[in-house]
C-alpha cells in the first residue's frame, strides 16, 4: 500500500499531465477512503447493543438447589413440618348390606286360613303388636265356638253346682248330688279352659270376631316384604310379612386372608354405597371370622352400622374402608405428594435456608391413603417442601 503514496511525490513534466496525475491520485484516495468507510460500516456486525437478558434460574450449589424468591412464588413452593402421629393403615373391601338378625322378623300365621284384610303394606312403619293383616280361619272359628259352648256348659254347671250346694246345705238334696254337680262344674270349667287354650294356641283370642285371625308383628320397624293378597289362602308354614328395623344394619365383608390379620373388633369403618361414594357412614367391626373359606381364601368380617338416614339397603353393595389399629408409637408422617422419586430413590426437599433446599433420600415405611411414614433420613422439625415438589425435582434433571 505504501507504494501508492510514493508515486504521489513523483513529478512529471507537462502541466496537463500533472493535472491528470493529480486527478488520478485524488480518485485513488477518494476510492480508498470511501471504500474503507463503506467497508467499515457495511461489514460491521449489526448486533451492537444487544445485552444478554437477565436469567432467573435455580442452580446447584454444592448439594443444595438455590433459587430466587420469584422462583418459589411461581412454582408455588410451600414447606411443612412432618407430622408426628400414629399411622392407621386402611383396608378397602367391597361388601354387602344385610339385616341385623336381632332386628328382623318373619311374620306368619299359625293356622291355615284365607286372607280377609291387609292392614299394612311394604314400607309402612309398624309398632310391636300392630296388626298387619286379618285371616279368616275355619279352625279358629270352630275353636272359638267350642269356647262359647264350653263356656255355656261351664256356666250351667256352675249354676247347677251353686244350686246343688245350697240345696245340700239346706238339706234339701243329697250331699252326693252336690258333689256330683261340683265335679261336673269343674270338668266344664276345665273344658272351657281347654277350649280357650286352643283358641289362643291358634293365634286368636276369644274376644275377637269369630273366625278372624289378626296377624301381628312382634317387633317394631318397617314392613320390608309382603307376600299376601286379599283372599289368598295361607298355610301355617308361610311367611306373610317381613318386618325389619333398618336403623342398624350389618355389613358382611369377605376379607382376603392377607388383610384379615390386621382387622380386629371395634375397628372403625367408613361405609359408602358403591353408587354414591360421597355418602359416608360410620360403623364398627363387630366380628372377625375365625375360619377361612378354602374356596375363596377369605374370612368373614361383620360390621355394624347405624343406618340413621336409611341410605343403606340390605342387598346393596358398599365400599368399606376399615381403619385398622393404629401403630403403637408416633412416627414421622409426610403427605404423599411431598415425596418424589429421583434416580430410583425416594427423595424429599429439605429447606436449608430461605432460598435453598437440599434434596435428600429418605426411607419410607407404612402408608395410609394420603400420608407416608418416613423411617429414616428426616428429623422431626425439619421443614420439607410439600408443594412445588416437581419444580424442584426438575432442577435435578437440568
Amino acid at each position: 500500500m505504501s507504494t501508492n503514496h510514493e508515486i504521489g511525490g513523483a513529478t512529471e513534466p507537462g502541466a496537463a499531465r500533472a493535472k491528470t496525475m493529480r486527478t488520478a491520485i485524488l480518485a485513488v484516495v477518494a476510492v480508498l477512503v470511501v471504500g474503507g468507510l463503506a467497508a467499515f460500516f457495511l461489514l460491521r456486525k449489526p448486533t451492537a447493543g444487544f445485552a444478554e437478558p437477565p436469567r432467573d434460574v435455580p442452580y446447584m450449589d454444592g448439594k443444595w438447589i438455590r433459587y430466587s424468591p420469584a422462583f418459589a412464588a411461581r412454582s408455588k413452593l410451600e414447606f411443612g413440618v412432618p407430622e408426628s402421629a400414629g399411622l392407621t393403615p386402611v383396608v378397602n373391601v367391597t361388601g354387602t348390606v344385610t339385616f341385623d338378625p336381632e332386628r328382623v322378623a318373619a311374620v306368619g300365621a299359625r293356622i291355615s286360613g284365607r286372607v280377609r284384610r291387609i292392614l299394612k303394606f311394604p314400607g309402612d312403619p309398624v309398632k310391636a303388636g300392630d296388626t298387619l293383616a286379618e285371616l279368616e280361619s275355619a279352625d279358629l272359628g270352630q275353636a272359638q265356638s267350642a269356647v262359647l259352648a264350653a263356656r255355656a256348659h261351664a256356666e250351667a254347671a256352675n249354676a247347677n253346682d251353686k244350686r246343688e250346694s245350697q240345696l245340700a246345705e239346706a238339706r234339701v238334696s243329697s250331699q252326693r248330688d252336690a258333689e256330683l254337680a261340683r265335679a261336673t262344674a269343674a270338668s266344664a270349667r276345665a273344658d272351657l279352659h281347654a277350649a280357650e287354650q286352643r283358641v289362643r294356641a291358634l293365634g286368636g283370642n276369644a274376644s275377637s270376631e269369630i273366625g278372624v285371625l289378626a296377624v301381628t308383628t312382634p317387633i317394631p320397624g318397617k314392613i320390608v316384604e309382603s307376600h299376601v293378597s286379599r283372599g289368598q289362602s295361607v298355610e301355617p308354614s308361610a311367611t306373610l310379612f317381613r318386618v325389619a328395623d333398618l336403623e342398624r344394619v350389618w355389613i358382611e365383608l369377605a376379607v382376603f386372608e392377607r388383610e384379615l390379620g390386621h382387622i380386629s373388633p371395634n375397628d372403625a369403618v367408613e361405609i359408602s354405597p358403591q353408587t354414591n361414594l360421597s355418602v359416608v357412614l360410620k360403623g364398627k367391626v363387630a366380628h372377625v371370622g375365625d375360619v377361612i373359606d378354602r374356596e375363596t381364601r377369605s374370612g368373614d368380617v361383620r360390621v355394624v352400622v347405624e343406618n340413621v338416614d336409611g341410605s343403606l339397603r340390605p342387598g346393596q353393595s358398599v365400599l368399606a374402608k376399615i381403619h385398622t389399629k393404629t401403630t403403637p408409637s408416633a412416627v414421622l408422617l409426610l403427605p404423599r405428594d411431598a415425596i418424589t422419586s429421583v434416580d430410583g430413590k425416594q427423595t424429599v426437599f429439605v429447606e436449608h435456608d430461605a432460598t435453598s433446599v437440599e434434596p435428600r433420600a429418605v426411607t419410607t415405611g407404612a402408608r395410609d391413603g394420603t400420608r407416608v411414614e418416613i423411617t429414616d433420613g428426616l428429623k422431626a422439625g425439619e421443614r420439607v417442601a410439600i408443594s412445588g415438589v416437581f419444580a424442584l425435582k426438575s432442577e435435578i434433571f437440568r
Binding site: 510514493e6 508515486i7 491528470t20 488520478a24 461489514l43 437478558p53 437477565p54 436469567r55 411461581r74 391413603g369
Partner: protein, 1046 residues
Amino acid sequence: MLAAIVARSIRIRFFIIALLVALLAGGGVAARYLPIDAIPDVSTVQVSVLTDCPGLSPIEVERTVTFPMEAALNGLPKLVELRSVSRNGLSAVTVIFKDGTDIWFARQMVLERVRGVEESLPKIAGKPELSPVSGGLGEIYQFVVRSDKHSPTQLRTILDWEIVPKLRSVAGVIEVNTMGGDLKQYHVVIDRGRLHAHEMTLKDVAAALARANVAVGGGYLDRAAESFNLVGVGLLKNEDEISNVVLRIGTDGTPLLVRHIAQVKVAAALRHGVITRDGEGEAVTGVTMMLIGANSRDVVHAVKARMEKIQSELPPGVIIDPIYDRADFVGRTLSTVLGNLVEGALVVTVVLALLLGTVRGALVVVLGIFASMSFALFGMHVFGVTGDLMSLGAIDFGFLVDGPIVILESVMAATAGRALVKKAREHAYAEIAAAVARPVAFAVAIIMLVYLPLLSLEGIEGKMFRPMAVTMACALFGALVYAVVFFPALLVTFVPPPKKQGPRWVIALERMYERTLAPALRLKWALLSASGVALVISFVLIAKAGADFLPRIDEGDLVVTFRRAPSISLAEAKELDLAAERVLKRFPEVVTTLAMTGRAEVAIDPVGNDNTDMFVHLRPKKEWTTAHDLDDLSVAIKNAIESEVHGTFVSVSQPIEDKTNELISGSRADVQIAVFGDELSELKRISEEVGALVRGVRGSGDVRIERVLGAPTIVVRPDRVRLARYGVASEDALSAIEAARVGMAVGSIYEGHRRFDLRLVVPPRTSSPEALGELFVEAAGGGTVPLSEVAKIEETEGPTQVRREALTRTVRVEVNLRGRDLVSWVDDARAQVQKQVKLPSGYEIQWGGQFENFERAKKRLGIVVPMALAIIFGMLLWMFQSARYAGAVFAVVPFALIGGILGLVGRGLSFSIPAAVGFIALAGVAVLNGVVMAADVKRRVELGTALDEAITLGATHTMRAVLTTGAVAAFGFIPMAIASGAGAEVQRPLATVVVSGILVSTLLTLFVLPGVLQIAMRGWKPDEDDEPISVAPPSLRSRGVMPPAE
C-alpha cells in the same frame, strides 16, 4: 486449436448468436423445471421400523420387539448403521444405508426382513410399519384446525376423516400426521361394585359386546324374476344401542343390560401428547410430509390449492390456519439469491462500463453470466442437483465474466482509435482474442478444477457442498465455452473499436502504475518478505478465530425444544407449555406459537411427555427489536422462558435444522461421548462419572448427561402360586390393568365411513397402587378376586427409554465447548477419562459429535487440498511449458488469502466452509490474474524483448485487465456481503472473504508478482525454451509435483 475455434465462431457468428438465443431459452426452461428447495437435504438414506406395543415397558419392548427386529435387519447389504430406541409402548429401529442407496430398494430389503420376524413378535405388539418416505426436508406444511362451535373431539374427527384423506391424495404428499384434540372412542365405563354385585366378569361383558356387534351376509333370495340380497345388520350404532346390549338373562327372566353395570359414553382415547397454541389453549394440528426428493415448491403450491378447496367443503365455522409453510422460506431464500445475483450483475455492468469505457462491451460481458447459468442449470438437471441456497446462492459470477473481461480488455486496448469494419474487424478481433484465449481458457479451467476437491467431501458436509461444487463447475464450464465460442462472435457483431484508450482516469492510473512499478521491482525482496510476514500473521489470526463447521442457515422460524424431568404428567406439561407460550407471546418478533408435547395416539415419534417441540413463527427479521440475529434472539428466548417457567429447559433450533438433526443421529453437540454396555445401571454410573469428570476440563460449557432412568412405573407382577391357587389365568389378571386406563378394545363403532374404537374401561378408585389392587379379576368357578391377591403391585422407577447403537445399549454425554477448540479439548478430556474412569469388561466409550465430522472433513481436506494445489501447478506447467513462470504465478497465490483472512477476522466471523469456498475463489482470481500477466510477459520474452522490459511492459499492459477482474469480483459481491435476508449466513462469509481478499490480492498481483517473476527468471537463458519440459496431462503429473523452492 483455441485460435481456430475463435476464428471459426467469428466467421459463423450469426449462427452462433442464434445458438446463444437457443441456449438462453433452454436455460429459462431448465430454470422453470428445476426442483427448488431452500437448502439441501443432508439427512441420510434411512428406513425406520416402528412397532406399536401398547403397555410394554422399555425393557420389555427392547427384549421382545427391538432385539428380534435388529437381529433380522442386521447384515443388510449397504447398511451403515443400525440404531434403535425402545420406549414405553413403542419400538423404533432405524437402518441407515450408504449414501446414494435407492430408498425404495432399501425399503424393500427392510420389509422382506421385517416380514420374517413379524410372527415371532409378542401378540400384544402391532404390525411393524415403515416410516414414511420422507427426509429432512419432509415437513413442508403445517396447519391448525379451529372453530368456536366445535369440540376438540369434533375438530379432530373432522381433521382425521374430512381433511387428511383429501390432502393425502395430493401428488408428492406421502403422509399427514395429526395430533391434538381428542381422538374419539366409545367407552363402556364399568362400575366395579355393580359388576361385582352381579357376579359378572370383564370377560363376560367383552364377549357380550362382541356378540352384539355383528353384521352377517346371507347371500340372496330369488323371488319371481328378481334376486334380493340378504343381509343381517347388527352393528351397534350409538351409545343407546350399546347401553341396551344384554349381558345375561337371569333365572327369573330379567335381562341384565350393559347400562345396569356401566355407563356408555363418547370419550377421548388415552393421550400421549398434547398440542397448545399461543398460550390460549389446546389445538388440533396436521403436518403434511413430502415424499423424499419431490419438488417442495410444487408440492406446497398443490397442497395450498387443495386446502382452499377443502376449506370450502368444511362445516361452517371450521377454519384452517396455516402455521408453517415451506414455500415462505423457499421464496425468501430464492429472493435473496436472485436479488444478490441481479444487484451483482448491475454493479458489474456499471463497473465495467466505467473501467473499460464501453457500455455495449459491458452488456455483452454480463450476458455471459446468463449463458453460464444456463449451462449450470442444464448440469443441475443432469446431475440431479436441487436448486437451493447452497447450489445457487454461492455462485461466484465474478469468475463467470473474468474470461470475457480479459478478452474484451485486450481487444479494446489493441483496437482503440482504429476504424475497423466488417472483414477487417473480424480479422483483427479474431487475432487479438485468439492470443488471450489460451491463458483465459487455462485460468478458467484451473478455477473449475479447484472446485473439484469439494466433491470429495463426505457425510453432511458433502451433501451440503457437493451440489455447490457441481453447479459451480458447470457454470465455469459454461463461462469457458461462452468466452471462447460466443463472446468473440458477439464482440464482432455488437462492439465497435473504441475511439480512445479507455477513460482518462484509467489511463492516468496506468501511467501511475508504470511509474510505481520500478521502485516496486527494486524493493521486490522487501515487498515479498512483508507479504510473507502478513501471511503468517493472518494465519495466526485465523487460527485464533475458531471454526464453525457448518454454517447455521437462518430459516426465519424457530423450533424451541423443551426438555423436562422424564416423570412429568401430560397435564403439568400442558400448563407449563401454555405458560411458556404466554412468555413468547410478549416478544414482538413472535407471530404465533404451537407447542407439541409427547407424541400422537398412533406412535410415530419415539418421544415422551418430557419432550416438547414448539414451533414459533417469527416476523420478518427487519421488524425484530429484541435482538437482530438468530443467536441473540435464541438467548433472549431461552432466558425468558427458563426464568419464568419452572422445570423447563430450553434449546432453540429451527424447523429443518431440528428435523435433520433428529434424522442424522440427533446430536448437534460439539462432542458426544457415548458409553456402550449392557447394564443400564452400570451405564448410568459410568456416564455420570464421565460427565462429572469432563465438567472439570477447561473449556467445557454445557455438559448434559442423558438420563436413562427416572420414569415412575407401577409394575404389576402376577404371583404364579397365587394365580394357581385361585385358578386365575395370567392373561385375565393383566387384562384388568389394560382395562384400568387405556381400555380393552372390544370392537368398532361405524358412523358412515368413520370408524371408532369401542373399549371397556374399569377405572380404579384412585391412581395409587393400592387402588389398582382392588380391581377384580375372574377366578375359577366364576368368582372374582382382587388383583392385589394374585399379583404384586409396586411403584418403582423404570428406564425412560433404551437406546441402542450397533446392537449395544448406549448412553450419551453431550458437551458444548466454550472458549476452547475442539481438538485440544478432546485430547485433554480423553486422557483424563482414560486415566480415571475404570471400565468393566464389555463396556466401551466412544467420542463423536460435530467433532467427529470436523475430524473427518479435516482429514479429507488434508489430502484433497494439496492435491488441488498440485493440479493447479500441473495446469500452470502445462500452460506455460516452463517451471519458472508456473512457479512464479503459483508462489503468489497464497498471498491472495491475506486480505480474505483479515476481512473475516475484522468482521468477527469464524472460519467455515463457505469461507473456505471464498478462499478457493480468491485463489482462483489470483491464478487468473497471474496467468494473464505472466502469459503476456512470456509472449514478449519469446518475441525477443529483454526480460526486465518485458516484465514492466507486460505488467503495465495487463494492469487494466487485472484491475477490472478484481473490481468486478469485489464490487459484484458487495450485495452478498451485506445481505441479511434468508440464507445470507451462507453467502456472507463467502462474499466477505472475496471482497476484502480481492482488494489485497489485486495489489499484490500488481506489485509483488512482477518482482517474483524477476526472481524466478533469474539466470534464465533464452535457449531454455528449446527443450520444453515434457508435460503430461495434469491428472497423471499431479502426484509428487511440488512448487519450486524459489
